[in-house]
């Protein structure tokens, strides 16, 4: 009851003013926009890297090893005298593309399997869902590590390893979403109209089930980037000269004096993961009508 006395300001403003509306928009979508801006900025610099940078990522200048940040090398140089800023921006290409590939392929594959499981029910469902459980039994990073190690070092192999552990969460989510939609009366109505199962699934069920999947995809890109960086950090991701954030952090691991070698790639990972998390949260709020009203 104490809450009733809390907001006198609202009583005065019977019609929301433009200023308060802007404040509300900011409160609601501010972080999400920030996230989107971060992601867009990263995508932009990753694409434009060759145009805006004077160096190449694998140009070795032994005379300029481990230079601290200065005018010629904004973020300093690494142990082989390569420009850290250049490597960082080229590294964004690897991180972003692997992140997107793993999540999108994993999501499509998982959603399809989950949707089929929910729609077919019976033995098919059992088979798919038990396979899902099997993969989810293992800690994902350990399983990916083991698979990547077995397949050998390399970007493609690491992506494959990650895909193996990535699809089950989408399969689970998709199955539960389709099950929920299936029980709605509008699906029954579509059945009574005589529509075919494929049409009901594609036209009626999937569009209504897609929202939470989009949220998971967005939140998950950051996750995938961090996992890939983690695998690279452990020496499994990319083959050496390729610039990659995880391996860059690994290179700077023992260089305590030369803090910039590890700090900047770490910061890059931090910003991009935060960006995806902000955006994902924003999309979730936007899709949830209850949260939207608040």
């Amino acid at each position: 009851m104490t809450a009733t006395a809390a907001r006198p300001a609202l009583a005065a403003a019977s019609v929301p003013l433009p200023a308060s509306r802007r404040r509300r928009w900011l409160r609601r979508y501010g972080l999400a926009s920030l996230g989107a801006a971060i992601i867009l900025a990263w995508i932009l610099v990753a694409l434009l890297a060759p145009l805006i940078l004077p160096y190449l990522p694998d140009t070795v200048e032994v005379t300029k090893r481990l230079q601290p940040p200065e005018a010629a090398h904004w973020l300093g140089t690494d142990a082989l005298g390569r420009d850290d800023l250049t490597r960082l921006l080229y590294g964004a290409r690897i991180s972003l593309s692997t992140g997107f590939i793993v999540v999108v392929v994993g999501a499509v594959f998982g959603t399809l399997l989950g949707g089929i499981a929910a729609y077919a029910r019976g033995a098919v469902e059992e088979l798919i869902m038990r396979a899902t459980d099997l993969v989810l039994c293992f800690p994902p990073i350990i399983l990916a590590l083991a698979i990547a190690a077995a397949l050998g070092i390399g970007t493609t192999n690491t992506i494959i390893a990650m895909l193996v552990v990535w699809w089950p969460k989408f399969a689970r989510l998709a199955r539960s979403l389709v099950l929920v939609q299936r029980s709605h009366e509008y699906v029954e109505a579509a059945t009574v109209v005589g529509l075919t199962p494929a049409r009901i699934l594609l036209r009626h069920i999937i569009p209504n089930a897609i929202g939470p999947l989009v949220v998971l995809v967005t939140l998950d890109v950051g996750n995938a980037i961090i996992t890939f960086a983690g695998l690279s950090f452990l020496g499994l991701g990319v083959v050496p000269p390729t610039p990659e954030w995880g391996s860059m952090v690994a290179e700077g691991r023992e260089l305590v004096e030369q803090w910039w070698v590890a700090a900047f790639p770490g910061l890059a990972i931090l910003t991009i993961v935060l960006g995806f998390n902000f955006l994902g949260d924003g999309i979730r709020d936007w899709l949830d009508p209850k949260a939207r009203r608040r």
Binding site: A11, V192, V193, P197, R199
Partner: protein, 706 residues
Amino acid sequence: MTAAQPNGRSERPASAVAILSAAAPPVLEVRDLKTQFFTDEGIVHAVDGVSFSVAAGETLGIVGESGSGKSVTALSLMRLLEEPSRITGGEIRFQGRDVMAMTPGELRALRGGGIAMVFQDPMTSLNPVLRIARQLVETMVVHGRYTADAAAERAVKLLGRMGITAPERAIHSYPHQFSGGMRQRVALAIGMSNDPALLLADEPTTALDVTIQAQILDLLRELNRDFGTAIVLISHDLGVIAGVCARVIVMYAGEVVEEGPAEALLSDPRHPYSWALINAVPRIDRGALEGKRLTTIEGAPPDPLAHAAGCRFAERCPFRIAKCVEHPPLAEVAPGRRARCWVTQAGRSLVGPRAEDALAAEAKAEAKPFDHGVEATLARGERLLEARGVVKHFPLPRAGLFGPTRVVRAVDGVDFDVAQGETVGLVGESGCGKSTLARVLVRIHRPDAGSIRLAGQEIAQSQPSAIRPLRRRMQMVFQDPYASLNPRMTVGQILGEPLVFHRITKGARETSAHVDELLNVVGLSPKAAQRYPHEFSGGQRQRISIARALAVRPDFIVADEPISALDVNIQAQIINLLIDLQERYGLAYLFIAHDLAVVRHISERIVVLYLGKVAEIAPAAALFESPLHPYTRHLISAVPIPDAAIESRRQHLQLAGEPPSAIDPPSGCRFRTRCPLAQPICTEVAPPLAEHRPGHFAACHFAGQF
């Protein structure tokens, strides 16, 4: 916490009537109460200057449609409102004490101590993880009137008093182990545990079946009589109010529009809104009098963000006069009666334009059945749907790896017919298999046994592709207008999809012309086609749902509780629409409802279902005038009539207990466990559905002997 009420248990007068006659101070006095919601869109005037009082031991009913402010009033009384809603003005006095000035501690003593509240859904008002005993005892101990031991003893007594069998055992159960009716009894026991002076019941029976509703209403009457507890009963159902309450308040748009004794108000309403409410409901004690159309009022309740300066009902009022641009006061129109209306201010009654309107609307059109091009259309009266021995069981998950396989016998051998152009009503309590039967008939589910013939064609076990052409003849309208339309499609897409899929129309232009026509037929503007379902009200969505069913030009529509989620006035509009469509297109309906009055009103024949089996089939009038099955008798008797005079004279048959589970139904006759006629033969032999009079079937060994 220490504030024990002055009107303690020992001082409680034995007779509630004595109090009424003496000028005792009111238990509750509300003066000019204003409650507002501070939303993003603006201020919602949910309760806008409501005044009333409740004398000790009095029963007061509050009626109104959803959004009229009746529930918010109740929450305001208990100061249970949460942000962004607030009481912004007025006075609430409980036994002379100012509720608005109470400290949180005093409020806690008030809630559950002085005033008890019972809500619509007992599942949410009981804590699911605590045993009943704990919840009951806690309520009593917290208010400091009982020691734990005394409270435990009293808890068992209370449960027994509320009609729960074997209370010693029941008290150790969890809420989920009880049915809805039982949970409401427990909620009442908790409410009554501290001898409140006032019981506030907000739609306490709305979620329950009629037979259970009758039990709970009976209990409320007894509590009022035996304990002298004053009752404020909030309901949308005039029949419920008429049976329990001596005085009635009608609310509209946050205001009290009429107040008076129940009997007088219900038989001679003095506010047009009360008049509309009363006339919109079909009554179980009457057949269709002047045609089948019900009296409805146009439009929707006003926008609570900005109320008009004049009478808030004027826009929809059939009695409107020039003076209605001024806001009328709640003035005395007869001794003890007040109404907020200029028309009745002089003490006149409202004489409805009802008879003339009904006649004018009865522009009889010759029924023109749709042309399907599938096969020759049947003539009216010919058999359209024929169900024989239809069975649908749902397997339950095994209890453990080696547990026995259990099945819910939802529909267990049902025979009936629907003729061309006929309306067949299907009634029964929840869980009797009504909805499953509907879904089996339209082949959403495949029956486990039996035969279903639609226009002579067997469809019970056909493949979906074989049924597809027949889908054009048989459609369905669903219960929940919020779940039955795909939220991601525009209304135009929803209505266009069946047209295109069944190749009824070719090309976008023809389809959209057809969609416009469909919208027109169900009384919506063609503009609706561009909009999404969430932009429409419940009644409008149900119209869209009906339009979708009509799109493929069926001759048989299964309507599964199509009006049970709607307010009475909207219910009447939808019923009128269904009747119009039937006259226009010669449709046959299978109309499923739990509201017997509505079923009687709309149906020519009625099928009564009990636990997956047919109990009785009869023409509507015969079923209500001379029911043969004891279950039908009880069902009819349980329906409250919105007429206090009739209600007080009626003898209510009380159906004991709850329907048994469909997992393990009783042997022989399924009704025997609750039947007053039950004999040994009923345990052994299931009575066949036999024709006792022409067209009147009943499945009972002692049909007509009750």
